[in-house]
Symmetry: C2
Subunit: 491 residues, 2 copies
Amino acid sequence: MTRKAAIIGGGVIGGGWAARFLLNGWDVAVFDPAPDAERKVKEVLANARASLPALSDMPMPSEGQLSFMGTLSEAVAGAGWVQESVPERLELKRKVYQQIQAHCREDAVIGSSTSGFKPSEIKGCATRPDQIMVAHPFNPVYLLPLVELVPGDSPAALIAAAKEVLRGIGMFPLNVRKEIDAHIADRFLEAVWREALWLVKEGVATTEEIDEAIRMGFGLRWGQMGLFETYRIAGGEAGMKHFLEQFGPCLTLPWTKLMDVPEFNDELVELIAGQSDAQSGQHSIRELERIRDSNLVGFLRVLKDRDWGAGKVLRDHDRARQSQAAAEVSAAATTTGAPLELLPMQVLPGWIDYNGHMTESRYLFACSETTDAFLCLIGADMDYVAGGHSYYSAETHILHKGEAKLGDRLLGTLQVLHADEKRLHVFVCILKEGVPVATLEQMLLHVDMKAGRACPAGAEVLARLMPIAEAHKALDRPEAAGRFVGERRGR
Amino acid sequence: MTRKAAIIGGGVIGGGWAARFLLNGWDVAVFDPAPDAERKVKEVLANARASLPALSDMPMPSEGQLSFMGTLSEAVAGAGWVQESVPERLELKRKVYQQIQAHCREDAVIGSSTSGFKPSEIKGCATRPDQIMVAHPFNPVYLLPLVELVPGDSPAALIAAAKEVLRGIGMFPLNVRKEIDAHIADRFLEAVWREALWLVKEGVATTEEIDEAIRMGFGLRWGQMGLFETYRIAGGEAGMKHFLEQFGPCLTLPWTKLMDVPEFNDELVELIAGQSDAQSGQHSIRELERIRDSNLVGFLRVLKDRDWGAGKVLRDHDRARQSQAAAEVSAAATTTGAPLELLPMQVLPGWIDYNGHMTESRYLFACSETTDAFLCLIGADMDYVAGGHSYYSAETHILHKGEAKLGDRLLGTLQVLHADEKRLHVFVCILKEGVPVATLEQMLLHVDMKAGRACPAGAEVLARLMPIAEAHKALDRPEAAGRFVGERRGR
């Protein structure tokens, strides 16, 4: 599919889609007649640039081209994906689809960001209804992986292509099989929203108290397991059936107000807006966005470390890009006698201290990651470790030569100073724009992990290691190698 | 208040309360007539021991005494806090309160874990209704901070005391001012639960699809901001009022099934239990608990790093304990010429690699934290850094001498090798049970951060540093000081 996306409607949601596509290497053309649409999309994009790359452990692809078009027809021309995010009015949406379909490719996917309408409703009087499907994302679109994909009766090949595109930009397409008002997630959100309005109106709780009731308790649970898996655990050893039998009967208690919708008048709006100001007014909306994004990046990285839930989506996205990068490094290693250019990295928000600098221990982390990449290259990878052998660090010397800041792109290189059956002596440079910010000299020992002592490395590892060590003998010995702490320079 | 808690009912919730109190240094007496209560409580406690300490950046206090009592009267005798977590049957709860009040202190707080009943209901025919209040926690009680405290008409002094106890065990008491069925959070949970059952029954979505719809999207949002703060942002620059005006009208759409409760029959139970088995059956309940706890610890630490939401609760809890510990270290520093015993640490789950070992860069982290503690001690603390001066690490040598594992308690000690106006040369040991697992030799330079070059430290800092440096001249120079990487031992 042509890697060009057309974004029709450039609000918070449209802007988020633009950022997702753009940062994943797609060209993006935006059409929105509002005079400040370009400014708004660029603000969303700035937020996305500050957060989305922090989810990746691979360097991001080069950004695509972003353009703002004066007409819808120019925006959709040649696009492989057209995403509609115009206001939630059915008549408007239907009109927009007719315009889109008069100018877009017949094989393009047209996705609708609608949170409420069913595909059969939006397809209404379309020229080619088959190419339209609901692709409902969640704000912030550039961070949250969920897309409710409601294809209706679109052809299977187009549905498969749509899922591939969404996965390719790091999202999680949830195929909603039966069309229904508000799909799945927004039905829950509406139920909670109704109840919350009623609690505020009756003075039972303020907006702040309601928010605390959510984020100090079940909100934390739901970021990593949903409703059913959480309750399965609550049932204890007896599991889901026990939980259902215990709590099922409570269902008949009329706890929630349910159908009792509060009248939506000025008084209620004032009450809620006033409480919300008291709760959050000390932060601007931009600040709140940055706080939210930083929290979400943190949560998502936690889940990524654990290969769980939304973190699994991130890992799969990395893995697809990683295999390609590994092949490139491997090819380079066999054709050069220079220090190996092993690991491109980017300074992530979690690497920064209260001072705005890269935390000291993260320099060692960057070096360790480079050494790990080298160990993978010579076959001492996780499978090898699972077999009971590993290289352990015995001794390390670090020289700090410069500073790295948030977002800096770094490159880890490695030179083998000496290798024998048991010992591996390496020199790692962490380069920023070709200049070292830190160097590391390290002695590693090959160990039998069960016996807890050094032993010769496996023949296959040595067969890969020794030719590199041999080639590196020709290299100059780095000046910092052999230094002790406090030694004068230029000895 | 006497730091003894009586736990009446030892299920998942009672066990969680027991763990909270016990790990925060309270003695705990459990009463539950079920024959396997002791085993179950101990299993919850094992989970809590594996996760709760990981939230703290201070060593935990010594655990209290845990006892299982044969009678309710023995359990409640002398307790400052009595927590009732028996099944949700009003008659049963009322009977239990009569028994509790026949034997407990008159000044004790009696908290009820009820998720549904109002205080006025449970106080019903109590002897001293004033001392009973709802204290509704969320599973897992040992990790989630929320307690809905619904005091009804209990006296203000007792309410204040109850809040202090809850904060003291690291919880967040949310004062629910008007009593109402199911308090606040469970009203939301019930609304979502009803809707979810209906979606499963009608075949719109499976339990797994519903869980994905939650945890890939809004669940992540709700762990760090609640409903209103999230929507305030969604309103964009125009904020809450704009959001309300835009989305208010949707409220009248009959999206959710609301009052349409599915009949709770065997067929529905089988359907849900079957789908849940397909979704989560590959993990035992114990495994799911560990996965959940590990995720929650990760989320909570993310929020703690950012001093936000539930993480702020953790920080406040640490701060209270920290000031006491700092005073102890400071006193020790002035009275000894030995290496300074600066920083007790515990190996946290995030410090462990895929191999089960403490990650290499975390040894440097532990050393950096020790050096930071020293810098605070001599007055080069965060306020000093805010003034534009700081000590930067120039060069570091690490010797790995042993291994630390999850939960190990470590002690960071520091010896000053040399200090002058601009330079600070230190030797740090990370000890486990008195034996070094790693040593670090480091040269720090005092810098003018704006000018970006070395300069003399402030007079107040030197006035604290120099006497320590002078005292440390008498100490033996550590064998590893001055080593270069690969140097033979015993030179």
